[in-house]
């Protein structure tokens, strides 16, 4: 098998999800030739994310930076527990990059000239996206076999935001899961590589479910990326008839979810 060169895109140097995906890809024999990290303290990013998340952004900051995003379910199934169980000992992505002798680039957002030059120089076979903003067409054009992303909803039915909550509210609990897909110009509209259904267990809340889902997502993303690179998975175009886009759920509707678990 020829050496597979991968660039990892991460929303933060502390992202445990990015770290897990990177480590798993490394263990599968891929070469992480570069890691691009978006800066946390960046006014433009703040404005962009505030437009996207509105008041929920403050909750995110509180949870991720102040509470350090620890698993809340007694550390048995979340990403922190997974990291411990699999001996991933790095605190930050830079530590991981040093270990595997990979270059790290910090950026304000992914669609800058610096990022473009970095990717052209590295000539990756594929880019793995683990969060951190939108990606524009020029970057998609130089991404080799594409940019792979793992969306936390089932595509093409559940595009957009809060796609863990929406199926529950609509009474379709069986439609919970995630999708690994290639990114394109639209939001969650790219060709599908793998769909994994992961139903909620009885009485499980969405917070618990998201924690449980994260390590499974990281494993599936790494696994699917390698299989796609080896030609074992063929991307499948999405049905264009599904035009529904979901947006952030209002807190009053979220309260109604408690009756549906």
């Amino acid at each position: 098998m020829p050496e597979q060169r991968i660039i990892l895109l991460s929303p933060s140097r502390y992202s445990k999800y990015s770290l897990t995906v990177g480590e798993l890809l490394h263990r599968k024999g891929c070469t992480i030739c570069g890691i691009i990290i978006t800066r946390l303290f960046n006014p433009r990013r703040f404005i962009f994310e505030y437009r996207w998340d509105s008041k929920r952004l403050f909750m995110k900051i509180w949870k991720k930076l102040i509470l350090k995003d620890q698993d809340t379910i007694s550390g048995t199934v979340g990403i922190y527990a997974y990291i411990k169980q699999h001996g991933i000992q790095y605190k930050r992505l830079e530590d991981f990059a040093n270990k595997i002798e990979s270059d790290v680039l910090y950026c304000q957002n992914y669609n800058t000239h610096t990022v473009h030059e970095f990717i052209v120089k590295k000539q990756p076979d594929i880019i793995v996206f683990t969060g951190g903003g939108l990606i524009r067409q020029p970057l998609l054009d130089i991404s080799g076999k594409g940019v792979v992303n793992c969306h936390s909803g089932i595509l093409p039915e559940y595009k957009g935001m809060d796609v863990v909550e929406w199926p529950i509210l609509e009474g379709k609990k069986g439609m919970n899961g995630f999708t690994v897909h290639l990114m394109d110009r639209g939001i969650d509209t790219g060709p599908i590589l793998k769909i994994k259904y992961l139903p909620l267990t009885d009485g499980e809340t969405t917070i618990h479910y998201r924690e449980r889902m994260l390590p499974v997502m990281a494993e599936t993303l790494a696994d699917t990326t390698v299989k796609y690179l080896n030609g074992k998975i063929v991307p499948k175009e999405q049905d264009i008839n599904y035009r529904k886009q979901y947006y952030i759920m209002h807190h009053k509707l979220k309260k109604k979810l408690t009756h549906k678990y």
Binding site: W166, L169, E170, R243, K244, Q245, Y246, Y247, M249, H250, K252, L253, K256
Partner: protein
């Protein structure tokens, strides 16, 4: 605000409300009973639904779309417009209201005209995304808390009461 209070208010001010050009009682039959379902005594545009374009959005269009939804029109055009308006309302936030404002009594009123359409579309199609946007739009303008229940207040407040009634009714039934 309780459902009963809103009902009483709307029924008491019915004579004033039906004079409004925005068909405030259209779609309210579901809550108030068929006696109060006065339908659309308004001038509907003669043309067909315009092509889905941002510039085509105006008060007449929204009223016409409401009429089509309430008369159980299953046309694809209505669904496409509903999806487009939802996207504009979610992402561009204030722009659709700004566009339909010239046909309405006030800017607040323009917002409530959109809310009315989304609520009626939700009633017809049971698509929860449309109830979601009405909750958000009412949060943004913070209308309900500022509202004073007096008939001399502007048209928007009456319309807000009407939408609040429907919204509360639907929220209780999820």
């Amino acid at each position: 605000m309780s459902l009963e209070l809103l009902k009483t208010f709307l029924v008491a001010n019915r004579k004033e409300l039906i004079k409004l050009p925005l068909a405030p009682f259209g779609g309210l039959g579901i809550v108030l009973g068929s006696d109060y379902e006065l339908g659309f005594d308004i001038h509907l545009p003669a043309n067909e639904i315009p092509e889905v374009k941002f510039r085509s959005i105006n008060a007449d269009l929204i009223i016409y779309l409401r009429y089509l939804v309430q008369t159980n029109n299953k046309g694809e055009d209505v669904d496409t417009w509903a999806e487009t308006l939802l996207r504009y309302a979610e992402i561009r936030k204030v722009l659709p209201k700004r566009l339909i404002y010239p046909g309405c009594a006030s800017y607040k009123c323009a917002a409530q005209l959109l809310v009315a359409f989304f609520l009626e579309y939700y009633a017809a199609r049971s698509d929860l995304r449309f109830l979601n946007i009405t909750l958000k739009m009412n949060d943004v303008s913070n209308n309900k808390r500022k509202m004073r229940l007096h008939i001399d207040e502007n048209v928007a407040n009456l319309f807000i009461a009407r939408n609040a009634l429907l919204e509360t009714y639907f929220m209780e039934r999820i």
